[in-house]
């Protein structure tokens, strides 16, 4: 497992370097003309984008793995549980109704929205519901949050809210500043560091909630911890980059192949795989025709949907066989 961890880390570093220097041509040209401006371009424009792609991907992978372990369900993830939609709702409320510009305060609104969505899911479905109940409750929360977001945008004091939220909420890393990247990634990194400390407890949950409790890990406290930390990490990232689907669902699935099925030990590999996936996706959207921007969130959804269906069909087959 440590060998695959090293391999994933190396792959992520290489991809991040590629992401930072793509496209290379203009960068070299600018360096010949004005070296100071070239380094400014690298640190002020490209670095936040690379950091956000890798960091948000890692957050989706790790929170997805933690939520799946907590709900004992391989289909739980930030998007399926409605927490991404809740975070978007919180961020829209903060940005257009409270007119908050400070990225860290906005991240707080995002975290609040994600936390409310997850708390709603726990109330509706409970910790150990069957897949159908979990998915239906998640869909209901995502739809409600989506509708509320649209309503808040439509009635927002600013008449341009709808238009300029498009770029933001669709999931994109274009034109984010370093302070914005810090507002998303510093709280997210703290939350993820605290989540990793729960890896052992989440592994023991695989033996059932009662066994985990008999070993001194209270399932209710653990669930609240996972929910709060996931909400902070997802909320902060969504408030800067918008919602991005399917990475948080698929990365943990791949990570458990590395962790031997252990849901807790999958946390770190899931973060690495999530980061790799999102950096790759953000490299791919640059293949769009010149002058057109494809939000990376659309790409992950287009690629992720068939994989999700394949996963669901696989689960159904296992249940009926």
């Amino acid at each position: 497992m440590s060998r695959s961890g090293a391999f994933l880390s190396l792959a992520l570093l290489l991809l991040a370097a590629l992401h930072l220097t793509t496209p290379l041509g203009p960068l070299l040209e600018l360096r010949r003309a004005d070296p100071a401006l070239a380094s400014l371009l690298l640190t002020e424009l490209r670095l936040p984008r690379t950091l956000l792609a890798a960091g948000y991907g890692a957050v989706l992978g790790m929170t997805g793995a933690a939520l799946q372990a907590m709900f004992a369900n391989p289909l739980a993830s930030p998007d399926i549980t409605g927490s991404s939609s809740g975070a978007a709702l919180g961020a829209v409320l903060g940005a257009y109704w409270f007119e908050i510009a400070d990225p860290l305060a906005l991240a707080g609104f995002g975290a609040g929205g994600a936390g409310l969505a997850l708390a709603g899911l726990l109330l509706l479905a409970g910790r150990r519901s069957d897949t159908a109940t979990l998915l239906l409750a998640g869909v209901a929360i995502a739809l409600a949050a989506g509708a509320a977001t649209s309503l808040l945008l439509a009635l927002a004091p600013s008449p341009f809210a709808f238009y300029d939220s498009f770029d933001w909420l669709m999931g994109s890393f274009v034109d984010r500043s370093l302070p914005q990247a810090a507002a998303a990634l510093v709280p997210a990194a703290l939350a993820c560091a605290l989540l990793v400390r729960r890896a052992r407890a989440l592994d023991l949950l695989a033996l059932g909630e009662d066994v985990a409790a008999s070993l001194g890990y209270q399932p209710r406290g653990l669930a609240l911890e996972v929910v709060a930390l996931s909400a902070v990490a997802v909320g902060a990232c969504v408030s800067v980059c918008g919602a991005i689907g399917f990475v948080g669902l698929l990365a943990p699935y791949a990570a458990r192949r590395i962790s031997g099925g252990h849901p807790g030990r999958a946390l770190v590999p899931a973060a690495l795989i999530g980061a790799i996936l999102l950096v790759l996706a953000d490299l791919a959207v640059r293949l769009a025709p010149a002058g057109r921007v494809i939000p990376v969130g659309i790409l992950t959804t287009v690629v992720g949907t068939p994989l999700f269906i394949w996963l669901v069909v696989g689960m159904r087959r296992r249940l009926t066989s």
Partner: protein
Amino acid sequence: MTPLLEARDVAIGGRLQATDLEIGSSAMIALIGPNGGGKTSLLRALAAVEMDGGSVVVDGEDIASAAPARRPHLLTFLPASRDAVWPIRARAMIELGLANSDPQRVDRLLEELELVDLANRPINRLSTGERARVLLARALAPCPRILLLDEPLSNLDPYWVLRTLQLLRETVRKTRCSAIVSLHDIDRLQSFDRVLLASSGRIVADLPPDAMLASRELAHSFRIEMGEGGWRVSPPADRRSSP
């Protein structure tokens, strides 16, 4: 001599009345009772899974305040559920029961429970009976002082029912631990040293196997009686007239 396990006033609201229990070492104790009588609640309370007051002390240590790394050495709890969501290999599943990695111990358990051929199969691809053996091995792995096993014999074929009882007896003798085993099959009580009967959320009788089988409490709780051809359902009139 202080008992190995000492429970004082353990209770779970609505399901288990305040209960005291003392268990010595090297004992195999059966826990029987009608459905909903409180067997599982008693085991859960003793394992500190759920407790609305009271205390459980094992080998002089209070369970509720013992650290997670210490608990598996004091007691392990095997729930009746055999559900498994994650594709964890059987060997790794047994390792989860250990606070510190001990491959030799896992190998021994795999051999004793004849799981060597299944060691690398994901647990969610095993049959219910096979899964039951893996989960039992997980509970046995840390050599706890107290084993709390909720229906470990259900889903097992006759060979494995007998073999499991034999294995528990060997474990109890070798490690001087004690096991509390809930079960439904009253024909198996002779394999135990002592029998607890739980009914209506409390322990209504605590007797050696023979005395338990002959007791009024058992007949009354289960609404069965011993006839010439074996156990049979008590006539309804009898059920009503009994106190």
